[in-house]
Subunit: 470 residues, 2 copies
């Protein structure tokens, strides 16, 4: 990579307001939010328009200067953090935050890449529609980053990943060319679906500058059930029942172990013990519909009754009010924060063919315990999508440096087991810097070759987000 | 392209049973089912395994021999018909027709590419699940071809195009390499989503040999409403109401003009006049759910009542039995066949931003009437997806050669109007040979360049399906 000083030409083209170079101004853009990754850069750009993004990329490509696109910086894999090269230019989309249109006949939302996901969700809601993409970081993450990483979240079981919600995108290629794919068509069978490459490419092919998303009917009638289960196998059988009976109403199917509940009750405020006793694991199910609360509740009562009768769960609590619904969700939502409060831990965002989750969990735990009998796994996640957050906290009595000492080996064990059971080492967080070595090791060589050649088609000078993904 | 005689090496590698070369044996594979396209070939291959497909492609690539993949031959754009070169090898997937697995816990179906779509739908149904891809040719079309063309059909408004139902594919590249992407994971964020390129590529990048599809809960509770509307604008307002109130239950929203009903009543057997009078246009809506017929009917009654009260339709008929439901569907399903019986006609499978359909229809008809005052448009289609089949039959008194004389100009007018209103010249049928010139003319030059370069990555020798798409 070139070490050309690009700030002068950038400033001349875009104006001083867009180009930050003072160390103090740049500083906040050099690390990920968790402080795990830190890099360097010669400049930070905050363009206001697609045309400015295009100018910037063309200048950087001509000079061979690496560009690191940056959204809301909520990623967990270091994908938006520059590497150690002082040549880097960080390109932030934060100023491109206009909603261009919300159409309740076409059921589309068109917005610039820097819009905060939570703001878009509220804008859709206000217009009487649902933007179903929803995740813990939604009030900081930007929609461009959500698409660049193909974000998931809690509603995937019903609405799919970010990719599945996209009708079109506008993007700037490193050549400075603008990809004008901001179409709102539901059907368009005219050649290769190029936008699919940019979605999930983690900024390695170009910069997404605007998005056109599908909107859905609002599902204001909601109900939540918390079921206690004895094992992931029982959670699987319960899932089969819910899927079959409730159809599209099932919009979340979350799993967490009893250990996660212990952690939440220890660290979080205002959370209540859900049952009179602790159970091995829990499933939180949300059903939602556009209409008819009575019918939804009746359905739920029938299904929960059948689940108890067929012994597909040990106990169940149904929300009877919005307050109860939120209280039940809190048990699930507070897990990450409680784990942070508990201390150092290792995160693994993995997915599996759903029917193999029980066998995977058994096998992974056995191997981990053979490595260190005191490991403390905290397993939770979007069970209905086969997605587990397989996290481990510091064992009791282990030194503060535990993660540095044992982390690499533990992660190798977890990801190797995932691979052995036909799963994916990254379900929804992407690869970034964190999983790059494992990705390059595990991925099929033919797929890696195709990806590298496609990368050359889009980014012949290789300036886009070096050291991430490929 | 090379004119090498490849049949000897193919026969030596695959056995005589797989390689047809006798003119009489080859003959049935040289034309599309409508008899519009006809080409030539030196051999037809009918491999039985993925390994045989790989051997065949490697031999053809080494010799520079063009390969034309062929599914059920139900396409409407000549995409599976060889061109005029005697060098062509047609590769049929028809013998690769095993269902590998149906899993009702994972809700997945894995099948070889040559499986007939209708058979897969029935297999899923028998297992208590729904494979929602459904189209007129489903009892002849093969699932590999459905994916290669990203097929649509009547349930897209709820379940999406073929692309959206795919979890994984196995494919053979022209190099003979096997793309092992037959994963059943719902979430897998590990690099570029390469399968998305092969889906919809119309056989120009490789040969899909097996597919992993998502299954859904069976929606056995169904109800159909036929509503009479005065205009496409009213159909749009009615759609907004249905979308909002019925949510995911709305699984078909079909539109057809009064002229289409005339045609069906003239040519089809056992079809009944739906109302006491003829209306300008009609909308057929299907609602479906996993459960609770009474609740679905109550919802429908409320919504139809509101539609009549708010004057979003002129009249409405609700199916009260399966027989009535099928009779209402017949009005829509018989349109294509009735048009064939009526005589020569021109087909245009287009899509539009749904809110622009009324303006497009007005503008296109005005331009067509200025060209020939006697044009006879028959407009129907998947309105909820913005997808119109904008067909024209021979004007009264026009010569038999009408289509040859005026067809090109009429198609130019229709597709130009589609482009002007931000639509797509191919909604669900693809490009093939039929729309190649228009595609190359209309598509953004940057997108065309990227597609050509991606084609070179997958197919460096350029042997895959020449003369189609690109």
């Amino acid at each position: 990579m070139s070490n050309t000083d690009i700030s002068q030409p950038l400033r001349a083209a875009l104006g001083p307001d867009v180009v930050l170079t003072e160390p103090a101004d740049i500083e906040p853009w050099l690390a990920d939010w968790r402080g795990i990754y830190r890099g360097q850069a010669q400049a930070v750009l905050r363009p206001r328009t697609t045309a400015e993004v295009a100018q910037a990329l063309a200048l950087c490509q001509a000079a061979g200067v690496p560009v690191v696109p940056r959204g809301g910086n909520t990623g967990l894999c270091g994908g938006a953090t520059p590497d150690g090269s002082t040549a880097n230019v960080v390109l932030s989309l934060d100023r491109m935050n206009a909603v261009r249109s919300i159409d309740t006949i076409a059921n589309t939302l068109v917005a610039e890449a820097g819009c905060i996901l939570g703001n878009l969700r509220r804008a859709a809601q206000d217009a009487g529609r649902l933007l179903p993409l929803s995740l813990a970081a939604e009030d900081s993450s930007q929609i461009g980053g959500n698409l660049a990483t193909n974000a998931g979240g809690v509603n995937v079981v019903r609405y799919g990943m970010a990719r599945e919600l996209v009708l079109g995108i506008e993007a700037v290629l490193p050549t400075g060319e603008i990809f004008n794919g901001l179409r709102t068509l539901r059907k368009d069978n005219t050649g290769y679906d190029l936008k699919q490459l940019l979605i999930g490419s983690e900024g390695t092919l170009g910069v997404i500058t605007a998005v056109a998303l599908r909107l859905f009917p609002r599902t204001d009638v909601r109900s939540v059930v918390l079921a206690a289960v004895e094992s992931p196998r029982q959670a699987l059988e319960l899932y089969e029942l819910l899927f079959q009976r409730c159809g599209a109403r099932l919009q979340a199917y979350e799993f967490f172990t009893g250990e996660c509940v212990d952690l939440v009750l220890t660290h979080a405020q205002g959370v209540q013990e859900p049952f009179a006793q602790r159970y091995p694991a829990y499933v939180l199910m949300e059903l939602a519909d556009t209409t008819d609360e009575a019918a939804l509740n009746a359905l739920l009562e029938t299904v929960v009754g059948e689940a108890l009768e067929r012994e597909l769960c040990l106990d169940a609590a149904v929300s009877a009010s919005l307050g109860q619904l939120q209280a039940l969700w809190k048990l699930r939502e507070e897990i990450s924060e409680a784990q942070r409060a508990d201390g150092p831990h290792l995160k693994h965002d993995v997915s599996l063919p759903i029917e193999r989750i029980p066998a995977f969990m058994e096998s992974a735990e056995a191997r981990l315990r053979a490595f260190n009998a005191d490991v403390r796994p905290f397993i939770f996640g979007h069970f209905g999508d086969g997605n587990l957050h397989y996290n481990l906290s510091r064992p009791a009595g282990a030194p503060r440096e535990w993660a540095a000492q044992e982390g690499a080996e533990i992660t190798d064990i977890v990801l190797d087991e995932v691979h052995r059971y036909g799963g994916s080492i990254s379900a929804e967080h992407g690869i970034g810097q964190l999983k790059r070595d494992h990705f390059l090791h595990i991925k099929d060589p033919l797929e890696l070759r195709l990806m590298r050649e496609i990368k050359r088609v889009f980014d012949p000078a290789g300036i886009m987000n070096p050291g991430k993904l490929l």
